[in-house]
Amino acid sequence: MMSPLSATTPADARARDLLLDVRHLTVEFPTVLGPARIVLQDISFSLVSGEIVGVVGESGAGKTTLARSLLGLPPVPSRIVSGEILFRGRDLRTLRDAELRRIRGKDLSMIVPNPRGELNPLSTVGQQIAAVASVHLSLGRKQARQAALEMLKAVQIPDPARRMDAYPHELSGGMAQRVVIAMALVCSPGFVISDDATSGLDVTVQAQILDLLRTLAETRHSSMLFITRDVGIAAHFCDRIAVIYAGRIMEIAPRQRFFFEPSHPYTIMLLAAFSHSAELRRQWTVPDVRRRTGAGGGCSYADRCPLAQDKCRSVEPALTELAPGQFTRCHFPVVRR
């Protein structure tokens, strides 16, 4: 059977081909004393060509670990302990390093936050983009440079020809972010992971970058996993949105349902935090007092949940389908009557 979370409707999923199918991905973080801490627990979701799926959650929820694990490089020292990452039908976990390397940056690339730290300080921007192009597309020196220049034009950097020879420290944060986007997209990858790519940028720049990302994804028919802390951005950007909390998917739903009929108390809390109604915020926001004490059984959100009952503290809920395409991990989902 296909993963239940494929797309809006089963018919849709069959019609379009599945690009990424993550099944039961579990990532652990070994600790010196005591048992390993689970950073991602049983993550399953999938994504079809051209789709943009958002992942929202607080910092520390496991968003970056998810992004990096999909590329086979979870942050050191955590490691993937089980699950499958099927990309175009091939399980990335079974591939050898050399095969993975050919996929990374070419078919499956990542846009990272804090771009100035992510670029090699001793090489020019043009050299770095060209290096990616020449490695993955087997381009000659001149062609690779040309591809880099084209890409810098595509990300709308002012004066791209001159920026080719600029070093990372000579760029503003927004420009460096555009360079990283150029690097990630120069091979026209089928799938792009954007890990909080616009955090730390001015709001105006943020909007420009988001527009750019969407346009580029559309023109290149790239799918995207869009990771962000900002539910508002996800609302503008994504076809479906997943909420993760303490390494688990709490709710995943098509955009429409996510915003108008959220079912998980945590989702509602996130949305309430962005709402104008102080009343709503008070009602749903519970201070983060006992933070993720670990596998004590029961729902990981129970300690902060205003609706928690005894069952929530002893039995962990499973992800169940509430409405077509909307899955929630809650014993007592909020249903609008």
């Binding site: 990096r68 590329l71 490089l73 050191v76 993975l100 390397r101 050919r102 996929i103 990374r104 940056g105 070419k106 690339s109 990542m110 990272v112 804090n114 730290g117 992510e118 670029l119 090699n120 300080p121 001793l122 090489s123 290096a131 990616v132 490695v135 993955h136 070093y167 420290h169 000579e170 990283v180 690097m183 990630a184």
Partner: protein
């Protein structure tokens, strides 16, 4: 350009720096007990002859006056005379300093050739056997004294195997040293197309160079290992890996980013070894500048010591200038 002004400014500071170094070493040497006049005249000297010699050498004057006299003669290019060799210190040093520079330079090149590749290899593959070898090597290179290693080498390669010449200087006594151009025998021999002198001086170099190279590869190895490892864990290396760049590319850019630290430690070692190689010089009767200075210290012969300090200070300043120029070439963030 930035570059030229930078060099200009550095060169401008060299003169006051040197003056400071000379002043400090002059004062320090003056505090060493021992009267050169007494030593020079020997046990049979009368107090009168000692006093007259002290007056002749200017030793009866106050220290600031002595310093002024020394600096004044320095400006004329006169570094004083060594009473042991009875020759002008400048002549002695012109002959001996290149000997030390030759030894130390080749020793350091060997240390680099061992330390950098081993350091990179152990940073790239921290669990490999090469990393374990490097680890053990780094430890033992720090623990073994250079003069002891030199003696072991002499015993094995000269006494037992007889592969290499006796540790008696820089060239066979039966061979005339090549005409001095650089003062470095191997180079001078090549310039003079004197094959025999080249082979002889090169074979005399092998053991002392191996000693210095093996010992000093330790710190270079450790520094290379630590910085390349840090660079490989940095965000930009990780992003290169995430972008699917080949391992060789990732390692190369990590090494490039680590180079400033590696060049720094090499520069520091270079300056240090000019005096620090003295034990090896003594073991091999090298006749270098370090040996000359130590003789000076032991016999209250102050001008050779001061001359040595001055020479090695200039040498270090030049080395540091080159180190800075290398930073300049590597890192676009400097000076812009």
């Amino acid at each position: 350009m930035h570059f030229a002004t930078y060099i200009g400014r550095r060169l401008l500071f060299i003169a006051p720096q040197l003056l400071g170094i000379v002043l400090v070493s002059f004062l320090l040497i003056k505090t060493i007990p021992g009267d050169p006049a007494v030593l020079m005249l020997g046990p049979t000297a009368t107090p009168e002859s000692i006093a007259s010699l002290r007056a002749k050498m200017g030793l009866d004057q106050p220290i600031p006056a002595q310093f002024a006299i020394y600096v004044k003669s320095l400006l004329r290019g006169d570094l004083g005379t060594s009473w042991q060799t009875t020759k002008p210190v400048l002549d002695d040093l012109v002959q001996r300093f290149p000997a030390t520079v030759e030894l130390v330079t080749f020793g350091l090149l060997m240390a680099i050739a061992i330390g950098v590749p081993l350091g990179v290899a152990s940073a790239v593959n921290p669990k490999g056997w090469l990393a374990r070898v490097a680890d053990f090597y780094g430890l033992s290179a720090g623990a073994v004294p250079d003069f002891w290693l030199a003696l072991v080498f002499i015993y094995v390669f000269y006494t037992v195997l007889g592969w290499l010449p006796a540790p008696l200087g820089r060239i066979d006594l039966s061979i005339i040293p090549p005409r001095q151009v650089t003062g470095i025998y191997t180079i001078d021999a090549l310039l003079a197309h004197d094959w025999q002198a080249f082979v002889s001086s090169a074979s005399h170099l092998v053991l002392p160079v191996a000693t210095l190279g093996l010992i000093n590869a330790g710190p270079i190895l450790k520094m290379t290992h630590a910085t390349v490892e840090r660079m490989l864990q940095s965000d930009f290396s990780r992003y290169e890996v995430l972008s699917g760049m080949p391992r060789s590319h990732v390692v190369r850019s990590a090494l490039r980013n680590a180079l400033p630290s590696i060049v720094t430690i090499i520069g520091v070692l270079y300056g240090f070894l000019i005096g620090g190689a003295v034990l090896v010089e003594i073991v091999f009767s090298w006749g270098g500048a370090g040996q000359y200075a130590v003789q000076g210290v032991l016999n209250s012969d102050i001008y050779p010591v001061l001359g040595f300090v001055l020479f090695s200070a200039i040498f270090s300043l030049v080395v540091y200038l080159i180190v800075d120029l290398i930073y300049f070439a590597i890192d676009p963030r400097i000076g812009h």
